[in-house]
């Protein structure tokens, strides 16, 4: 079964089983997102992709497209609220963009630019979080983790390894490593793993590659995240 949905007045075809974001991406419509990545089990946790479907807020990355849906993706209200949700992610962790190696390549930052986020708005939590530099090739800086679950899914679904997990409850959530010591060096993670390269922020970094591209010449320094995401996801969508 196929059909069409209406996103902001534009008629968009979908195939049976597609979510709203999948149909939108294929049609060249960008819906902001962080925890969604084509080819991975949808998670639905960041809530950045929230759209109004027939008047109700739904996560576009998990909600199935069905014939005749009226979807609002662009509205002042959604833009303002998505900005607030992004600000929540910023104050929850310790995101010091100017000193972060991922700056310019960071999707959290890219989305923040897209949403015209100019400050953090909310009071900072300044949580005390550890670094794990134990692994010879890979660094984890927990300060920047946004609990998108992508590394967990990548390790499990793509690498067949289960290196990561998310533990804790509520604001005490934390990324944990599946090894006897809890350190990355004692896991079976390797630099070739999908999980090593999937982090949308600078929480999982590859060592000895820092600053090879100067800040200012990086992905989101040049291009809008909407453009980058649509191009990438339509090119490698089925990996």
């Amino acid at each position: 079964m196929t059909g069409t949905i209406d996103i902001d007045g534009q008629s968009i075809p979908f195939e049976d089983g597609q979510t709203i974001i999948e149909a939108a991406t294929a049609a060249g419509v960008y819906i902001p997102h962080l925890c969604h990545r084509p080819g991975y089990t949808p998670h639905g946790s960041c809530k950045l992709c929230t759209v109004k479907v027939n008047g109700r807020n739904c996560s576009a990355c998990t909600f199935p497209a069905t014939d005749g849906q009226t979807v609002i993706n662009n509205s002042d209200e959604l833009e303002q609220d998505r900005r607030r949700i992004t600000q929540m992610l910023f104050v929850e962790g310790n995101h010091m963009c100017p000193s972060c190696e991922k700056s310019g390549n960071c999707q959290l930052q890219g989305v923040a630019y897209h949403l015209n986020m100019l400050d953090n708005h909310y009071p900072h939590f300044y949580p005390r979080r550890e670094m794990d530099a134990s692994h010879p090739d890979i660094l984890i800086d927990h300060n920047r983790c946004i609990f998108c679950n992508l590394c967990v899914r990548a390790s499990k679904e793509k690498d067949g390894k289960n290196v990561f997990g998310i533990a804790g409850r509520g604001i005490n959530k934390r990324l944990i490593v599946n090894s006897p010591s809890g350190q990355l060096k004692d896991s079976n993670m390797s630099i070739e793993d999908c999980a090593a390269h999937i982090c949308p922020t600078g929480a999982i970094l590859i060592k000895r590659t820092g600053y090879q591209v100067p800040i200012g010449q990086r992905i989101y320094d040049q291009k809008h995240i909407s453009e980058v995401a649509l191009a990438q996801e339509n090119a490698h969508g089925q990996d």
Binding site: Y122, N162, N178
Partner: protein, 592 residues
């Protein structure tokens, strides 16, 4: 440890879905989940260690570090506070020589707060090694402290310390006469299952857990799904502060609840059912097991129920301290031995629930009512209540009233009648439906208890004029921040921001714009959260802000800037370092 784990693993048939039950046993045995146990369990169940740690850290009653041999938790419900809980906790802390949130150096005792334990009609309440302590006062604490210092086994403690009363004050159409054992199954089979579902439909019964979904429709959707197996789940998580009616229903009428589940099983074609019992109700576990055993012995459960070829059995699964596990999809995750994180919907549990099989989840009271409807018919039930809310509602009433306890009313009853019956005077307002519900003021007592007016899963908390509305909203707001599962951003971060923002205003650090900011944060959390917890977490603020805007505004400082913190307080360390305390070393943050 190896032999202990082996024994419990054999009991659990090496099933990863029993992980939570296994961890509860390890916690009870070793007062924590030792790293060595995690290794053995991971190996035996063939699951990642990280998955086990995730479960341990999710549930409040499981710990990675040792708790005291006597682990005491004191209920933090607003009603316990109204019964002088803070004082009791302080006294306990001094008598036991242990700080709140700590384990005493000798490892004998630990003390902490816990969310509402469902004893609001007999508080201040708590738990010791999972068993309920009620009506705590200084003499009882003296006794408890002495028992602990003597290291007396809990089984030797005097029974009155653990006495839990039913406090049934008013029985209505369900509680005034329970059905005969087996009568509902018999009636349903005699009438025919399809015809019985039609009776249930005609009765107008809607779910009693809060959301009010039509029970017959839910059962029909599930019955229509073709699948290898179907499951029946009874939701006895009862975590909404101020709710304790399911505790009483299970204590007094477990047979009828199990009968309702069996009826549902016959209708949807399930062979297996679960009672998800909140960890706080551990004291009911043995009794409920005995009821199940007796039903098996008398042919009311098993593989040939009443000799009519019906096959069904029920397993009791205990929670471990997580309010979110009352949400049906989180409950299913918990039944599968995982952290209680709500699933994405669709699919709904009726199509993909426990082990991705069609599953119905219903409240204890819903099953109780369904069983009686099967016997007496749909018209009998529909004859009570209002057009949109058929039948009765069983309330657990607590707070400022002379007779807290259980009351059953036909829907449509006016709030003022309920207040009169329970002996509430000088009333400021009532929290209906618990923190996730609505706070109504004393101008609204003509309103009705009904899905179309004031809905409640059972919680009904009365506040008299000596109470402070902001304290109430603050207690509830802290509750949600503590219980947020943390899956989605708006609730994980938003409930903590709500707590900070409300505390800031209540502590007198708010200034112009802070109430408006609070309200817009409320809307954000409400509109964007993934599940009912986040969607209702702002209700305590929203419903009181709507009724008492001045109480909030009056806390604001009349200054032109917006301090996020106490400026003068932040200088304290600097003053100590500089050994200064003169006027020049203070920054005023008061009216301009």
């Amino acid at each position: 440890m190896k032999t202990f784990l082996k024994t419990i693993l054999i009991d659990a048939d090496y099933q990863p879905v029993r992980l939570l039950a296994l961890l509860r046993k390890v916690q009870a045995q070793y007062r924590h989940i030792p790293a060595a146990a995690i290794d053995i369990l991971a190996e035996a169940l063939q699951i990642p260690r990280a998955q086990i740690i995730a479960v341990v850290e999710f549930y409040s009653f499981l710990h990675l570090t040792p708790q005291g041999r006597y682990d005491i938790l004191i209920s933090d419900s607003i009603t316990d506070h109204m019964l002088d809980k803070e004082n009791i906790l302080g006294y306990l802390s001094s008598m036991l020589k242990v700080d709140v949130g700590e384990v005493r150096a000798d490892g004998l005792v630990s003390l902490n707060n816990t969310s509402c334990t469902g004893m609001c009609d007999q508080g201040p309440a708590g738990l010791v090694n999972g068993l309920p302590l009620t009506r705590l006062d200084r003499p009882r604490i003296d006794e408890i402290a002495a028992l602990i210092e003597q290291q007396r086994d809990i089984s030797d403690w005097p029974a009155y310390l653990f006495a839990v009363e039913d406090n049934l004050h008013k029985a209505g159409l369900l509680l005034n006469a329970p059905i005969e054992k087996g009568a509902a199954i018999q009636a349903a089979l005699d009438r025919g299952l399809e015809a019985t579902l039609a009776e249930l439909d005609r009765s107008g019964l809607r779910g009693r857990g809060g959301a009010g979904f039509k029970t017959a429709a839910k059962w029909r959707f599930c019955a229509e799904e073709s699948a290898e197996r179907h499951y029946v789940v009874c939701n006895a998580d009862e975590g909404e502060p101020g709710t304790f009616k399911d505790r009483v229903l299970l204590n007094m009428h477990a047979d009828q609840v199990f009968e309702g589940m069996t009826l549902a099983a016959a209708i949807i074609g399930a062979k297996q059912g679960f009672l998800y019992l909140r960890g706080e109700y551990l004291h009911l576990y043995d009794k409920l097991q005995a009821v199940l055993e007796q039903r098996r012995a008398t042919g009311l459960l098993g593989d040939n129920i009443l000799g009519r070829g019906l096959e069904f059995d029920i397993e009791i699964c205990l929670g471990a301290g997580a309010y979110i596990c009352g949400e049906e999809s989180a409950l299913i995750e918990s039944l599968e031995g995982k952290p209680g994180i709500p699933r994405n919907r669709p699919p709904y549990p009726v199509t993909s629930g426990y082990l991705n099989q069609p599953t119905i989840v219903n409240n204890v009271e819903t099953f109780l009512a369904a069983a009686k409807i099967a016997v007496l018919g749909g018209d009998w039930f529909a004859g009570f209540g209002t057009e949109k809310s058929a039948g009765s509602k069983i309330l657990s009433i607590c707070g400022d009233c002379a007779r807290p306890g259980i009351y059953e009313y036909p829907f449509g009853i006016a709030i003022e009648q309920i207040l009169h019956d329970c002996g509430a005077t000088d009333v400021l307002g009532v929290q209906i439906g618990g923190p996730s519900g609505t706070f109504i003021s004393n101008q609204e007592f003509k309103r009705q208890l009904a899905f179309e007016d004031l809905a409640t899963g059972g919680s009904f908390i009365v506040f008299n004029n000596s109470r402070n509305v902001l304290d109430i909203a603050q207690n509830f707001t802290h509750f949600f921040a503590h219980e947020s599962c943390g899956f989605c951003t708006p609730c994980r971060v938003g409930t903590s921001l709500l707590k900070k923002q409300l505390d800031k205003i209540i502590d007198g650090h708010g200034s112009a714009g802070d109430v408006a900011e609070l309200e817009s944060l409320c809307q954000l959390v409400k509109n964007y959260s993934h599940c009912g917890l986040g969607q209702t977490a702002a209700n305590p603020i929203l419903t009181t802000l709507q009724r008492y805007p001045d109480l909030y505004q009056n806390r604001l400082k009349n200054i032109s800037y917006e301090p996020g913190f106490d400026l003068d307080g932040a200088l304290e360390i600097a003053r100590r370092m500089a050994r200064r305390n003169d006027a020049g070393a203070h920054l005023s943050q008061v009216e301009e």
